[in-house]
């Protein structure tokens, strides 16, 4: 089944979780719906709902069954659905991420260009020309799964994942693009790096973006990269 379900499917996760599924596919429409309900719930969080976690096509709701019964969680979901039109849901933010493409920071950019008979400049132009929707955050702290990569750049993962992908790396895996907020192993094709600190655990607000926000990559020069990096470390 494609597109939004006429009525969301409710799945139970043990004694304190509910998964509300809005569709079966990865699509902007379904993910927008997920974001809308998540934002609405967060605006007027019913007592007993502990956390609302947006995913590609569902919402994971953690509740305290001693405060709110499962039946009431389901009622709240129906009621928020009825009130969605009347709620003032803020539009997703667009967060700009400066990227130094290619060179030592984007060791796979020539492979990506070569695979698609493009020049490196084409890859930079196409990748930074699109706006990406954050479908979900996970895998590592702050790792955004982004939808909307133009088809001309779809490229398979590397055959052997790298043991260490440095924090800030921007990569491509098949129809997805994303970035690594912390040093971690990884198999995505690396095309550039951002000098921004994508995850800063000691900050009041440790992340630059939330699920549902939009991301735009802005090409920068090596000088600019170093300038942002030195300001960050100052």
């Amino acid at each position: 089944m494609e597109g939004l379900f006429p009525k969301p499917i409710i799945r139970l996760i043990g004694d304190r979780g509910v998964l509300v599924e809005y569709g079966n596919t990865i699509s902007q429409e379904i993910n927008r719906k997920v974001r809308t309900v998540a934002v609405a719930l967060n605006l007027e969080m019913p007592e007993g709902i502990v956390e609302v976690i947006p995913t590609y096509r569902s919402l994971l709701i953690i509740y305290d069954p001693l405060i709110i019964s499962l039946k009431h969680v389901e009622k709240e979901l129906e009621s928020i659905e009825d009130r969605l039109d009347g709620l003032d849901i803020p539009l997703p933010r667009t967060v700009e991420i400066p990227v130094l493409y290619g060179g030592e920071y984007g060791p796979d950019i020539e492979f990506v260009a070569h695979t698609h008979n493009l020049t490196v400049d084409d890859v930079v132009r196409i990748h930074s020309g699109a706006i990406y929707q954050i479908y979900m955050i996970g895998f590592t702290p702050g790792f955004p799964f982004l939808g909307g990569l133009p088809e001309e750049l779809h490229t398979p993962r590397v055959e052997t994942p790298r043991a260490l992908v440095p924090a800030g790396s921007v990569g491509i895996a098949n129809n997805q693009t994303g970035m690594y907020p912390i040093d971690s192993p990884g198999g995505w094709r690396l095309i550039g790096r951002t000098p921004l600190k994508l995850f800063d655990p000691v900050k009041e607000d440790p992340f630059l973006y939330s699920a549902g926000d939009m991301i735009r990559f802005v090409p920068i020069s090596a000088d600019e990269y170093n300038r942002i990096l030195s300001e960050r470390n100052a």
């Binding site: 799945r11 139970l12 996760i13 956390e51 976690i53 590609y56 499962l70 895998f139 992340f207």
Partner: protein, 312 residues
């Protein structure tokens, strides 16, 4: 106040508290003590609040020089505790003096022990918690397991003024065979005969068993005909049992963030304390419960926790 200097760290000793809630939407797992009952008991015994940080010991414990007089208690796994070579009882608070050497040896039964100190272990609060998430390198002591030479601080020297012992009848037993009560779902509709196989078979804990999850050996659980082999990745909750491509169940625990395989059932919260003490080779069965029962079990468990908080 400096309370311990680590002479030997033990196999895998981390600082943990009640967990880091509210950040799973950013890919940060809950973390926290794996055996919440023993964790809470350790804090209660030394007079700490119920979210104080403790040391979670895995298989073998640390050897520490005591830097300030303090009250200490060790709970969880059955594990020898010594002060200057003199044994101390588990599940009981006792005093240590500056200059003592406090050693926690190797677990005889169970896997994880909890060492609480009066006042609680002091480390920076990161995103609302002191718990260590080693894969993300955040929380606890520099985001990692303890190492030789580390110096631990306590929040204060306060602790309870009288020494107490945990009631014998409330101490968990540490059996080699456990039965975990579980509610089918969230993706039980991906299985037919696999559900019967899951609830009627015996599994063995494999060597791949850590704070992310416990991989089990035993019969392979099959998906039903016509469903996709994997699902679109989604975050997971502790206790969900994922069936990967090879059909061997994985009980997902507190450091798992997201997964792409169907979850056949989810273990009731109190039984996760049994998982925390199960070691490779131990046997596990699953018992099917319904929604009403899983919520009754959860409510009983929460009342038990409230009871032990007010016990002394």
């Amino acid at each position: 106040m400096e309370v311990f200097a680590i002479l030997e760290p033990g196999a895998f000793t981390t600082v943990q508290d009640g967990g880091r809630y509210g950040y799973q939407q950013f890919g940060i797992p809950v973390s926290g003590a794996l055996d919440m009952f023993s964790y809470l008991a350790a804090n209660v015994l030394v007079g700490n609040g119920d979210n104080a940080a403790v040391l979670e010991i895995t298989f073998t414990g640390p050897k520490m020089e005591v830097l300030s007089d303090a009250i200490v208690a060790v709970t969880g796994a059955d594990i020898p505790v010594l002060v200057n070579d003199g044994p101390r009882p588990a599940w009981t608070s006792f005093e240590v003096r500056r200059g003592d050497v406090l050693s926690v040896r190797a677990a005889r039964r169970g896997v994880r022990a909890y060492l609480a100190v009066g006042g609680g272990i002091s480390v920076p609060v990161i995103m609302g918690s002191r718990s260590t998430y080693t894969a993300g390198k955040i929380g606890g002591y520099s985001g990692r397991a303890l190492a030789k030479g580390d110096r631990l601080h306590s929040e204060s020297v306060n602790g309870r003024s009288r020494l107490v012992a945990f009631p014998e009848e409330l101490k968990p037993s540490l059996p080699d065979e456990i039965t975990l009560r579980a509610l089918p779902g969230p993706q039980d509709d991906y299985f037919e005969s696999g559900l019967d196989a899951f609830f009627n078979s015996e599994f063995t804990v494999s060597s791949k068993a850590d704070r992310m999850g416990y991989r089990l050996e035993g019969p392979s659980i099959e998906l039903k005909e016509g469903v996709p082999r994997s699902i679109i990745s989604e975050p997971s909750l502790s206790g969900a049992v994922q069936i990967p491509a090879d059909g061997h169940p994985i009980i997902l625990l507190v450091e798992q963030t997201a997964g792409g395989y169907a979850k056949i059932a989810t273990v009731v919260t109190p039984d996760l304390n049994l998982v925390a003490q199960a070691k490779p080779g131990n046997r596990i069965r699953f018992k099917r419960v319904d929604v009403a029962e899983i919520h009754r079990l959860y409510a009983d468990y929460r009342s038990l926790l409230e009871h032990i908080k007010r016990m002394f």
